[in-house]
């Protein structure tokens, strides 16, 4: 039972309720830093770390934080963790920290974290909140990597910095430019909507058929 619930939470985080593709949260960082897969991975992991930590603390404190000032308290908790992540990255991964630049401190205003705090961690116990943080974090990271994979592979012909197509490949540098970010994300979201629409269609039909079956 518990196992089923956990897998449902993961499915929700990664596909049916993906923070980027379905909930459309955290768009700024998604569009800005997905020029390379390395950046996407770094950003995804930092957001996941902050998300898990803030979910734990917020759900542990959910009975203590007064309702009126909850948003302000959440922001303080989140920005505390973001500062920790920022300092750690500056110390141990200076290059990544430089290429992500402004977008690490801006994790504070990444709507995913505040949205999960408000919608999930403030209403649930610590353990489910951790799982929610992991699931949503993975969903976010997967979305970033998918977008970055397309943009880096075709936009500069490399993956994780290694050349893939060889020297004769003429990179589609439009993909690495800001315009490419918007357009690629648009196409990916369209594909996800298509999949979800088809699934809904199939579920609907199945429900209909089983209903007919019981009538007979």
């Amino acid at each position: 039972m518990a196992g089923k619930k956990i897998s449902a939470q993961f499915k929700e985080g990664i596909l049916t309720n993906n923070p980027v593709f379905v909930q459309l949260l955290g768009m700024c960082s998604t569009l800005a830093i997905t020029t390379t897969v390395t950046n996407a991975l770094g950003m995804g992991l930092s957001v996941t770390a902050v998300l898990i930590c803030s979910n734990i603390l917020i759900s542990a404190l959910r009975k203590i934080i007064p309702n009126q000032i909850r948003i302000a308290s959440y922001i303080v908790i989140i920005s505390g963790f973001v500062t920790v992540v920022e300092m750690l990255m500056k110390a141990y991964t200076p290059e990544l920290s430089k290429s992500l630049g402004l977008f690490i401190p801006l994790i504070v205003v990444n709507c995913i974290i505040l949205a999960r705090a408000e919608a999930f961690a403030s209403k649930n116990a610590v353990l489910p909140s951790i799982i929610d943080g992991v699931a949503m974090g993975i969903g976010y990271t997967v979305a970033l990597i998918l977008l970055a994979f397309i943009r880096e592979l075709f936009g500069s012909g490399t993956l994780l910095g290694y050349s893939v197509f060889g020297d004769s490949y003429q990179p589609v540098s439009m993909l690495v430019s800001p315009a490419g970010a918007f357009i690629t994300l648009g196409f990916i979201i369209a594909a996800v909507q298509k999949i979800l629409l088809r699934k809904k269609d199939r579920d609907f039909r199945k429900q209909h058929e089983s209903g007919d079956g019981s009538d007979d």
């Binding site: 459309l24 949260l25 768009m27 700024c28 960082s29 569009l31 800005a32 302000a72 922001i75 303080v76 920005s79 505390g80 973001v82 500062t83 920022e86 300092m87 402004l102 401190p105 801006l106 504070v108 205003v109 990444n110 709507c111 505040l114 540098s173 439009m174 430019s177 800001p178 315009a179 490419g180 970010a181 918007f182 357009i183 994300l185 648009g186 196409f187 979201i189 369209a190 594909a191 909507q193 298509k194 629409l197």
Partner: protein, 193 residues
């Protein structure tokens, strides 16, 4: 004087917050259904960003730097912005009700607008002085307003079109935003090669 003009020009067009820096995308996609609401949001952001640029500048150089606690920048700035938005909201409601009724509903949303925090931090990073910070905050916000109003106009037209089912809503809006971004990249003077 020319420095200030160049700063303004580049903040509005060349380094447009939405189309080249990717700051403030959430309200850009969320409140761009109609040109009138987009304009309201843009004006509210301009108002808050100009004031917050000035205040965060003061706090950084008068409080954080003398006490050597610059690493608290993120926490301090987000709290200042949140408090400032509340104060502006109360002030407007009491003293300028006409402006409040126009901008009121957009104000609470601005706290989590990354453009405001982004401008505050970029001011410190780029080492702008006080005047430059205020001008930079103001003109970046004007750039944001320009972007969101143009985009709202495009979306208004798009409602009449009939895209494939999967593209309806956000995907087609993102593609349109991409095309506008392409137009804006002309200001950068960069070539796609």
């Amino acid at each position: 004087m020319t420095d200030i003009l160049i700063l303004m020009f580049s903040a509005v067009l060349i380094e447009n917050y939405v189309f080249s820096k990717f700051l403030g995308i959430c309200p850009f996609l969320g409140v761009s259904d109609k040109p009138s609401t987009a304009l309201g949001m843009g004006l509210a952001v301009t108002f808050v960003m100009t004031i917050s640029s000035a205040v965060t500048y003061g706090v950084y150089y008068l409080v954080l730097e003398p006490l050597k606690i610059e690493y608290l920048e993120t926490i301090a700035f987000i709290l200042i912005i949140a408090a400032l938005v509340q104060l502006i909201e109360m002030f407007l409601r009491k003293f300028v009700p006409a402006l409040y009724s126009a901008l009121g509903i957009y104000l609470p949303l601005i706290t989590t607008n990354c453009a405001v925090l982004g401008a505050a931090m970029l001011n410190i990073q780029e080492g702008h002085n006080f005047i430059e910070s205020v001008i930079y905050g103001f003109s970046s916000a004007v750039g944001f307003t320009l972007a969101i109003v143009i985009f709202a106009g495009v979306r208004d037209r798009m409602r009449m079109s009939n895209p494939p089912k999967a593209f309806r809503g956000i995907p087609i809006a993102l593609v349109a935003a991409g095309l506008i971004a392409m137009a804006f990249s002309g200001f950068m003077g960069i070539s796609f090669s």
